[in-house]
Every structure is written in C-alpha cells, then in structure tokens.
Amino acid sequence: MSKPIKSYKDLPLAPITYEDTREAFKTGSWRTFKPLVDNSKCKKCWICWKFCPDMSIRILDDGSGIEFDYDHCKGCGICATECPAKCITMVTED
C-alpha cells in the first residue's frame, strides 16, 4: 500500500488495487482440495499449466515437471482433470 486509507479522501479515483493483486491477496486459504503431482509420470505437455485459471502452476526450471503455487491455488482441480498422464491427484486439505 502506498499510503494508509483512512477516509474517502485517501481513495484512488476508481476501484483499483494499489499493487499487483496477487501480492495483496493470498487466495490459497480458500482451498478444500489440494493438488499433488507425481513428476515421475509427467509427460511435459504443460496442459495443466495452460488450463490453470489462477496461474498457480510453475514449470520447473530444469523442465522435469511442475510445482504448485499454494499461496494462490484455490484447488479447483482443473489440472487433475485435464492431465492426460493422470499424474495430478486431489487430496483433502488437512
């Protein structure tokens, strides 16, 4: 936040966030189901990465598979449904 908002006088003109929304809001806490990946079965097609609506899948630097951004993944399960190799499973959040 660039300055504390105490009254309407401190607000920006339009309803915007002052910074990248991803930094301000960790939406991962909304999750009920959590995706887990078995990278040994991953075919590197990156379909999960393309389909993720929250940009919460990151391709590993060495290209050996993927990892999840659990700060923002809401556990929708699209990745697990779309994965042709069935290497993503959804488990109940502890």
Binding site: I5, S7, Y8, L11, P12, L13, A14, P15, I16, T17, Y18, E19, D20, T21, A24
Partner: protein
C-alpha cells in the same frame, strides 16, 4: 469555418471526429445507425485515425468502450431505445470504473408495440446509472455538445461518462445548416485524454476489485456523488470557454427563454423547445407573458436554476415525453422535488406529451399555456394530465 447542411446524426458523427475519438465500438439501430455509419466512413477514408470495433450487441459495444477507456483511449459509441436498455448494466460499470465514455443516444420509444419515433423513456430509464445526460434542441447544439461532453467527462476531477440525446427524427433526421468547427479550434479546446489511472502492463493493478461492506464501497460511491455535483460548475465553465471560441452557447443546465418577466413557464427537454419558442413569440405579441425553461442537463439536475426560476414564476407546467408508471413524468417529479424546500412554492402541473412520437404542435403548446393561465387564476385543476390522448368523450 465551413457551414454544411447536415442532420443531427451527421452532426454527432462530426463531433466524434473533431474530438478525435480513438476507439469506436458500435452496433446499429434505427434511428441512430447513420451516426455510426458516418463514423465508419470517416475511419475507412482515413479522415479519422481510430480503431473501429464491430461488435455483436450494444452490451458488447459499451464493454469495449469501457475497456478501451480503461487503457487510456478516447471512446465513442451511439445507440437508441432497446440498444440503450441492453447497455444498462454496463452503463453502471462505466461510472463505477470512472471511465469517461462519451455516447449519443437517439431518443426512441421503447417496445412493445414497436415504434421508432421520439420518446425519452429510454434515456430517462438510465437516470440512476451515474451518466451525465444532455438533451439537445438543434443540430448545431448536438455537434457542439458532443465535443463539450468530452471535455466535461474527462476533467480529472469529474471522470464520469456522459451522453447527449437527439429526439428521434425531429433531430436525428432533420437537416439544418451547421457550422463545422475547424480541427485546430477543437484541438486547442480539447486536450488529448491522459487519465491518471489506466491499464498498464508495466504497472499491474487489480481493476474492479471486490469491496466488503466494512471496506470502501460506500466511500467510492460518495466520490461519484461528489464528482457529479462538481460537474454542474464544470459544465458552465466548459460552455463559457466554447462560447469564447465559437460564439455559441446553449444556456448551461437550464436554458431559459423569455422567463425574466413571465407569468407562466413551460419546462421541457428536447426538440419541442423550438416549437415552444415559436408559440412564446406569438403569445407575447398578444400580451401574454409566457416563457420556456429547457432542461439541457438532466443529470446533473439543474436544482438551483429551477429554484431561481420558482422565485419569480409562480405557475409552472412540466412537459414529459415519457412516463414513470405509478408516479408521473420524471421531469415533473424532479422539478417538484427541487422546488419543495422553497418557502413559497409555485404551482406545478405535469403534462405527458408526445409519447411515442406523437407530434407536439403549436396548437398543443398553446393549449398548455391556456391551462397554465387558468391555474394561475383559479389554482391547480389536476396534478397531471395526458395531453392529446384519444379519450372516449372526444373520439
């Protein structure tokens, strides 16, 4: 400066061209189509440097204009009747997002039954969207108001969308000699649109985010209310500046004609005002002190101007070319509302006229002035009346 013989629709298109609108998103609808056709011609011929987006509906047209304005482009669209109603959801969005989209609405009756003729129900139904609404009387006024609208809407302390209106056919299709201002004149008057907040890939921000009840929704609405209140002064400033450049102005929020010593006054918005002026000149020759107050800006409402009028005119008739079922004409109820806080309130009667394009003739207007003189001497005969309605007793 060149004069051209053009109609209201072409005048609106010239306004958008001279204002250098950069993104146009539009969907055709009678009687507006000629506006967006003419703008398309300007873009195709290279006279206008703009991106023209053909969309599948008016809802999409407004969505595209909001998006383009969010990215910092000056936008233009035009619509009418059912098309304006389809835009309704996004009209609210344009206001909340503080995107100063400028539009022209041709006032056309709402179906069913189908009618393409003049009626102001379509724009009156957008009263609570937070758009400024300007009602034009002449072709020249339409062109000038489109250009002025950009300057008013884009003022950094306003940043609200606005539309001007043309009564269907009476203004949209009637040809009048119109002075087309020089491009350099308009460029000097209207600077490029450079909004403080815009979509920027190098500076990502969340737009249109959620606000919880304890957070800032109410405060953001208050900011819109303040901006709309400020726009009253801005409208007058911009019109003054336009007058200095062109010699033309249109009376601010409430355009008054021969009201200074008037016994009775008609309040009206739109093209019927021209007919009323003719009647006034005629009746004045007969010694009858009659006047006109034309609502040029419905939002913001000319509250103070109406009160100033009510101080010296004690019998007022308000004409509505629309009707709010279960209440009365919108101009009628709002004029009454503005006058209520006065100590000595004038008598106010509502006239429902010209609905669905029924002609408002000089005879119609004379009948209204006759009625107002009777009210002046004998008091209100009724709160409101549908004029030139085919009633069983006169059929």
């Amino acid at each position: 400066m060149a004069k051209k013989l053009i109609n209201g629709n072409y005048a609106a298109a010239y306004g958008a061209k001279l204002a250098r609108a950069e993104v146009i998103a539009a969907y055709p609808i009678t009687p507006q189509t000629a506006i967006v056709e003419q703008v398309a011609d300007f873009v195709a011929s290279g006279e206008m440097k703009a991106r023209y987006v053909c969309v599948e509906s008016e809802h999409s047209a407004m969505a595209a204009c909001i998006a383009a304005a969010s990215a910092g482009a000056r936008t233009f669209t035009a619509t009418s009747s059912q098309g304006l109603l389809l835009m309704h959801e996004l009209l609210h969005w344009a206001t909340g997002a503080r995107t100063p989209v400028v539009m022209v609405n041709v006032n056309r009756a709402v179906a069913p039954p189908w009618s393409v003729w003049a009626d102001q129900t379509d724009s009156i139904a957008q009263r609570d969207t937070g758009w400024m609404q300007f009602y034009s009387e002449s072709t020249q006024e339409e062109l000038d108001t489109v250009i002025m609208s950009y300057k008013i809407s884009e003022s950094p302390d306003i940043m609200l969308p606005s539309f001007t209106t043309e009564d269907a056919f009476f203004l949209s299709h009637t040809y009048e000699p119109v002075e087309i201002p020089a491009q350099e004149l308009v460029d000097g008057f209207l600077p490029p649109f450079r909004p403080e907040i815009r979509l920027d890939v190098d500076k990502p921000r969340g737009f249109g985010s959620l606000s919880m009840p304890h957070q800032w929704y109410m405060e953001l609405r208050y900011l819109i209310a303040e901006a709309m209140d400020r726009s009253r002064k801005r409208i007058l400033e911009v019109e003054k500046e336009w007058k200095e450049l062109t010699g033309r102005s249109y009376g601010g929020l409430l355009d008054e004609y021969r009201t200074e010593d008037a016994d009775v006054v008609l309040v009206n918005a739109g093209t019927a005002a021209s007919t009323i002026r003719e009647v006034i000149d005629k009746l004045r020759k007969e010694g009858k002190k009659v006047g006109l107050a034309r609502i040029r800006s419905f939002r913001p409402f000319p509250t103070e101007e109406i009160r100033a009028l009510g101080k010296h005119v004690h019998t007022i008739g308000v004409m509505d070319r629309s009707y709010t079922f279960g209440d009365g004409g919108a101009f009628f109820t709002e004029v009454k509302g503005a006058l209520y806080s006065m100590k000595d309130r004038p008598a106010v009667k509502g006239y429902v006229v010209g609905v669905g394009g029924r002609d408002i003739t000089m005879k119609t207007v004379e009948k209204l002035y006759d009625n107002l003189f009777k009210i002046k001497s004998g008091g209100l005969d009724s709160e409101k009346e549908w004029i030139d309605l085919k009633r069983p007793e006169v059929a």
